[in-house]
């Protein structure tokens, strides 16, 4: 009985399981990546607003650092997304 169930499970897992696993990989890669990067970008822009209101004369210098930080943080989202896309399509 148990052996029968296991063979059935294995047979169905082969195709449907693979598809589901790929979809989960894409969802986790994109979704969790977006969560982390979103929090990070929020912190960066929050801190920029804070520091510009404290020292408005530093604005130009802060703006440059802000974009650097934004791009570095945003890239983390794409690492997750690329890993998910690789799992989904390859």
């Amino acid at each position: 009985m148990l052996a029968h169930l296991l063979t059935l499970a294995a047979a169905s897992l082969d195709i449907a399981g693979q598809k589901a696993g790929r979809a989960i990989a894409l969802g986790v890669g994109g979704g969790l990546g977006a969560v982390g990067a979103g929090v990070g970008i929020g912190i960066i822009f929050g801190k920029v607003i804070e520091s510009v209101t404290r020292q408005p004369e530093m604005r130009d210098e802060i703006t440059q650092i802000q974009w650097l930080g934004f791009a570095l943080t945003e890239a983390c989202f794409f690492y997750g997304l690329v890993a998910g896309l690789i799992a989904f399509f390859l």
């Binding site: 791009a71 890239a75 794409f78 997304l81 690329v82």
Partner: protein, 296 residues
Amino acid sequence: MSTRRKILLSFFGVYLLGAIFLIIAFGKGPKHSDFQPQNEFKLITWAKIGPIALNKGVLYIIVAGLLTTVTMLYIANRMQARPNRVQTAVETLYTLMRDNITRGNMDDRMSAKWFPFIGTLFLFIWYSNLVGYIPLPTNSGEKVHIFGANIPAFSLYAATANVGVPLILALIVFVAFNVEGVRARGFFGYIKSLVPRGVEGPMLLLIFPLEVASTFMRLLSLTVRLFANILAGHLIILFMSGGLAVILGLSVLGWITLPLGVILFLFEIGLVATLQAFIFATLSAIYLGGAVAAEH
């Protein structure tokens, strides 16, 4: 009611009515599994010249390289004492590249030496990103018929959306900053400088491999940042402006996501294309400057 409000309301009304009309007229069609979104990024070989295969990736590199060279040389040869608008814009760009990107991150001797490289890197990546947002008839996998002519389908593609191009650029930067570091301090001095000051004894065993790995991770992060940003931008524009509707067979979805597609398109052109070129150049300058800087 002000005019602006009327226009906004009528846009919203058309949007809503169009969605309702599409639901009633077409409803839910069949799913199209024969449309593969990844085929938009497939490189089909058009011609072979020796070992070099010509495909749309190569075409985009050539177009971006030519545009960079030709436009910049044209403007540089026609410099005037009283600049017109284009010259002013290019001069602003030049100041950004020289003062902010290069001189902000290295000493004067290094920036005199490496400014041409950093500037070219910035301009090439920038042009390459921007050319990618012009729809060009390059997707030879599909054909469209316009007035009886059989031309390849229009598609968005950028040289930098292919992992190979950013990888080569990042490899050049990687080799350059390692060579500069070894030149400035000697081989063992450079290896020693990878470890932060004050780390001694058994901690060295832990920190040293991490620092070496992080040096190699720079290569990976430079590549993936540029390539994934551009690729994801193109993918999301594709999905938002009709791809999702085709895959799921829901024509109303295409109507609903179309404004999002336009907004994302403008966002990619206005911010991402420039920002990624800026980041690549700035990080290259930081790495090059950091390799020879006196203090770690």
